[in-house]
Amino acid sequence: MIDVEALTRLYVRDTLETHVLKGVTFRVPRGEFLVIMGRSGSGKSTLLNILGLLDRPDSGRYLLDGVDFAGADDDRRSAARNRKLGFVFQQFHLLERASALRNVTLPLLYAEEDSGDATRRAEQALEAVGLAHRARHLPSELSGGEQQRVAIARALINDPAVILADEPTGNLDAESGREILDIFRRLVGSGRTLVLVTHDRTVAERADRILVLDDGRIVGEEAAPSPAAGARSPAAGLA
């Protein structure tokens, strides 16, 4: 689903060059829950932005579902973000003045074709994350965990193949964080590919596989025993 080879990314501010990614190579098969772990400044957010077509690598190759968007224009990359990708952020990034329902319909605004009944689809997406009863509430009226579930519903509304999550539990208490990860496990179980970046070991342990990123390079890879796929079946073990 995701095929990355020798990605590099260089930031230049004034005359200071920062090599954020120094040649990253990995693949994510369809239906995998991959965690990219790393400390702050390891380059994991930059990598996620490149995977999300929000940033372009300076060199290397990135195929999303077999398509190379390196030379694609803004319109094609935007259309791919809209159709193939769902984003979940640490700060939720909900529109403060919009109801949960309207937040969830946001990606439909930028779809190529009219989706028909946007409200009904948004209600279904909210129901999928257990928030149907909160549809008319503003983000400020929801708890952190609920806000993140609204954001997940928003990521799901266009039925994307890949979900990209950047520290999705970073602003949540442990209980809410577990709920979010449970939802993610369910999504992966239904065939979606999930790439999650975090610095949190307990989050990483729910993944199928962990890549450890340090100073712009992948320095380790491990198959994690995830609770759904493995923790209750110890056989999953290390690869």
Binding site: L54, D74, N82, L106, L109
Partner: protein, 410 residues
């Protein structure tokens, strides 16, 4: 619903959720639009009032009479009446700017007009086709004299309403043949009723009018004129045009400085010209103020939009992540400023025309409400929304989504 429709609707929903910011921008622009609309409404009212006065009093007409000023009170037979010729009229037409219509005029009293067994004695005028507009007259039935009547020296006549009543009590004068000093003339038209002037002397309902060529060659059989009348395109330039005509005729008639002239140029009283001058200066001033206010309103919209772009960079990044193209972001912010400008225009035009109408009703100004202020306000607001909206919109489109979604600010 197309993508651009969906985005436009989303913008309206967003704006309705940011009332205080929107209200500030709307009011900022409404002030300028209100002043502009009031200026237009009062300007049109004033213009209409002055045009009415011009029409009523013939303020745009200048008359040149044969005979000098001192001779006006002399017996008619003693005046130097042979001084003014058609060539003088053609020279005025050719050489004096800001004059758009000229007519040479002859007249003679004691003309006999007969139809069947009825007859009247009246005063006849020989004029050119432009005379009708110069004197602000009109025909009620039939038509006025034409250029081809002039060229053909046609025996056609346009008659005053009293003549028509005397000769054709049953009506139907147009097309009949009357005898004017024993020659047959076809009645081409009947003037509208004008009534007598206050002195009761100048009764324009008791007149007949024939082509100048007809009067000069047939009816009066003489070349010289009693008058030349002309219309000045701009009431404010009447004194200037009259002066130029005076100079031109003095040269043509070989009259040196200080010598008595053999013609007299009569200008309309210039009171209303001064009023028009004053009111147009005032409206130019108000117009300038309203333009300044409009630009200020536009700059206010631009500033608030720029602040909004800075505040909402995370929202912009989020929308980009959700699949918005840069062009969608440009469109979103441009539509925001456009909708706000249109709302400001709507509030302003209603307030401005309302204030102007109230001033008019209170007798403090002449106001006339037409579609013009609404059209001007619409055009001005679309222009302001786009001109002052494009910079913030471009700036919004340039927000780097990768940096924006990572922003840690709450």
């Amino acid at each position: 619903m197309s993508r651009s429709h969906r985005i436009a609707r989303d913008v309206l929903v967003s704006l309705s959720a940011q009332r205080s910011r929107v209200l500030l921008m709307v009011l900022g622009l409404a002030v300028g639009v209100a002043v502009l609309s009031a200026v237009i409404v009062i300007g049109q009212g004033t213009r209409e009032r002055i045009l009415g006065l011009v029409e009523k009093h013939g303020l745009d007409m200048v008359m040149v009479r044969a005979g000098g000023e001192v001779q006006v009170f002399a017996p008619q037979s003693d005046r130097g009446l042979a001084s003014l010729l058609e060539a003088d009229a053609r020279a005025i037409e050719a050489e004096v700017p800001s004059i758009d219509l000229v007519s040479a005029v002859q007249n003679l009293r004691g003309i006999n007009v007969v139809y069947d067994d009825r007859s009247v004695v009246t005063r006849a005028f020989g004029v050119e086709p432009g005379w009708l507009a110069i004197r602000h007259r009109d025909v009620a039935e039939g038509e006025f004299l034409s250029e081809s009547d002039m060229a053909a020296m046609a025996r056609v006549v346009v008659i005053g309403v009293k003549i028509a009543r005397a000769l054709f009590p049953e009506g139907g004068a147009v097309g009949r043949t009357v005898r004017v000093n024993n020659d047959p003339y076809t009645v081409k038209g009947v003037f509208i009723e004008l009534g007598t002037d206050s002195a009761g002397i100048d009764d324009w309902d008791d007149r007949i009018v024939v082509p100048l060529t007809t009067s000069a060659r047939r009816l009066f059989n003489r070349p010289y004129l009693e008058q030349i009348v002309f219309r000045v395109t701009d009431v404010r330039r009447v004194p200037e045009a009259a002066g130029r005509v005076r100079d031109l005729l003095a040269v043509r008639h070989g009259i040196g400085p200080g010598q008595p002239a053999d013609f007299f140029v009569r200008e309309p009283e210039d009171v209303e010209g001064a009023a028009l001058e004053a009111s147009s200066t005032l409206s130019a001033l108000l117009l300038a103020i309203s333009l300044v206010a409009l630009v200020a309103g536009g700059l206010m919209i631009m500033n608030l939009m720029l602040a909004s772009v800075a505040q909402r960079s995370r929202e912009i990044g989020l929308r980009r992540a959700m699949g918005a193209r840069t062009s969608d972001i440009t469109r979103q912010f441009l539509l925001e400023s456009l909708f706000v400008a249109l709302a400001g225009g709507a509030v302003g035009v209603v307030a401005g025309t309302g204030i102007a109408a109230a001033l008019g009703a209170a007798g403090m100004a002449s106001s006339r409400i037409t579609w013009v202020p609404f059209g001007v306000a619409l055009a001005a607001c679309v222009a302001i929304g786009l001109i002052f909206g494009i910079h913030p919109a471009r700036k919004a489109a340039r927000v780097d989504p990768a940096a924006a979604v990572r922003g840690r600010a709450a």
